[in-house]
Subunit: 380 residues, 2 copies
Amino acid sequence: MFKLVHKDKSTKARLGKLTTAHGEINTPVFMPVGTQGTIKALSNEEVKVCGAEIILGNAYHLYLRPGLDIIRKAGGLHKFMGWDRPILTDSGGYQVFSLAKLRKLSEEGAEFSSHIDGSKHFLSPEGAIGIQMTLGSDIMMTLDECVHYPAAKDYVGQSLALTTRWARRSKDHFLLATNDQRPTTKGQLLFGIVQGGAYLDLRKKSAEELIAIGFDGYAIGGVSVGEPEELIHEISSYAASLLPDDKPKYLMGLGTPPDILEAISNGIDMFDCVVPTRNGRNGQAFTWNGELQLRNASYKEDFRPIDETCSCYACKNHTRAYIRHLFNTEEILGLRLVSLHNVHFYVKLIELSRESITSGRFAEFRENFNNSYKKQKELQ
Amino acid sequence: MFKLVHKDKSTKARLGKLTTAHGEINTPVFMPVGTQGTIKALSNEEVKVCGAEIILGNAYHLYLRPGLDIIRKAGGLHKFMGWDRPILTDSGGYQVFSLAKLRKLSEEGAEFSSHIDGSKHFLSPEGAIGIQMTLGSDIMMTLDECVHYPAAKDYVGQSLALTTRWARRSKDHFLLATNDQRPTTKGQLLFGIVQGGAYLDLRKKSAEELIAIGFDGYAIGGVSVGEPEELIHEISSYAASLLPDDKPKYLMGLGTPPDILEAISNGIDMFDCVVPTRNGRNGQAFTWNGELQLRNASYKEDFRPIDETCSCYACKNHTRAYIRHLFNTEEILGLRLVSLHNVHFYVKLIELSRESITSGRFAEFRENFNNSYKKQKELQ
């Protein structure tokens, strides 16, 4: 299912191909986030034109709305939302512990109240797999407990032990499930999630135990949950080094463009992040020369595109001055254009990273990018 | 500039071609409304794919934001917003009398306070032409006073007299203006606006006086300002009958799909209306079988497209159930899809009207449409 194609010489960057039920993905890959069955503000067509090979959906949100019954009747999430390329779904673990009101955590699972209407629900590891089977995602994630930083080692250790037991139950449930329980997508993949907070020995323990259970890929979770930036990369780099080279390595929820390049250099293959769309809706654009806040009055008469080197619809057709006007007058097209540009930028950044790994120039590519990206203040 | 191509035998419907500085328009025509330099929630590309031949901009809004200085520097409204087909701009009269706080109306013009920041401005007939020259719109409208229904005849008569004097001043200013004052669009057209409220004799007086001044086209204004629906069509039909056949006739701000077909049968050539986009943002879709409110729970499991006969992106790719989910979760794509569908529907409705006029079956087309449209309650 995963084929390691090439390893960089001067860094740990790698090229791979991951085969899923809805097609092949080239790694490293960026997955735009479609929490509720839509990449916010964008159409599927736009996301495809950006070059996205896979998107992310969220089991917690889709379970609550529209609910599994409707998605089952639609024939799975792909058909419901009209997206025919691969989808990875998050298990809902992160949302239960961050968004919903957690009522009771037990060996069995998590009882929580919906953040929408307060209704009570229970999510077990088996339930999370069941939900994702109904969604028909190509890549399912195990249910985990996500601990925020900082946390005492005792607590993180106990939490990790529970997460590992849940991972084993998830795998067991996955193996027992018949194809009848996977109505829309045969050949779903299951990824485990390495936890352990900022404690490297616990990360090691987590990785080893998950590898012993055996998954189609491994995610590094519980990063960017409040810890200092250096620590994010120390943890994720270390965790990545423990994971088998013949499986995809997915760093959950990160990050800024320089973050992503650093993680690629540490051997990470897969990324998802809300930053391009969330920040896009607020007028923040990512460019090869750094970040622009397009709401700023300084762009009132700036008739250049967001990024002169960019080939996205926004840059080919519109100016900073126009987009600034759209934000200033609260017109929806403004946040559409910047979201589109940002998703295009993130996908392109990783596409060019792949090219530079192929040609053995990734370290140079990354250095040039970082120099240019950080020079923004002087240039704008 | 306007060529009457064909007249229907059984109704007053007509086919025409209006030549503007940015190309030819086939009439009858529907103009999507781009108040602030964008058709709300849609991209230019989407509006073009819908088949829109011309859009509407609003001098009042664009004068306030982004302001004329920025649009002048951008090279006119077309370049500022990246739209290369014709644009008609409203003079701002309607907005000054309905949206802004009117401070003082005099022979000279209207003093008003901005609805955005309360700042004071003065708009004269010459000023309104000057603004529209800077915008570089293909079709400019004269400044008029728009009286709401009901209003006493004395008041409407006095208002009309002022509007007519303003129309004369607008024409004079237009004739005197050099090409230097029309920096971006040579060969702009100027339309007069027939007023007179619900008093047919005043409408007649208005039409005759405007014809004596002479304009490139004539609009019927001050309809759908509170009067009963029958009266709208009585007034506009009567006014249209007074206007010369060799000039385009534009009914401002109307209306529902049956309204538009009735107006076409009364000889109207041009329409603009916020209904397809405004109602679209609220989940109301127009179809050949009537109107749907897609927020309704009844569409939760309705996996049909909005309209099975429609070829727009929303109908080709998405279901009512998915769009209902998008509205339910406040996702921007929902209002995008319904706005897109509605603009496509309006443009298509008039396109098919044109075809039926060509083939001499307009009365039949309209009857069939109305029957099918009004049957909605039984079908949905």
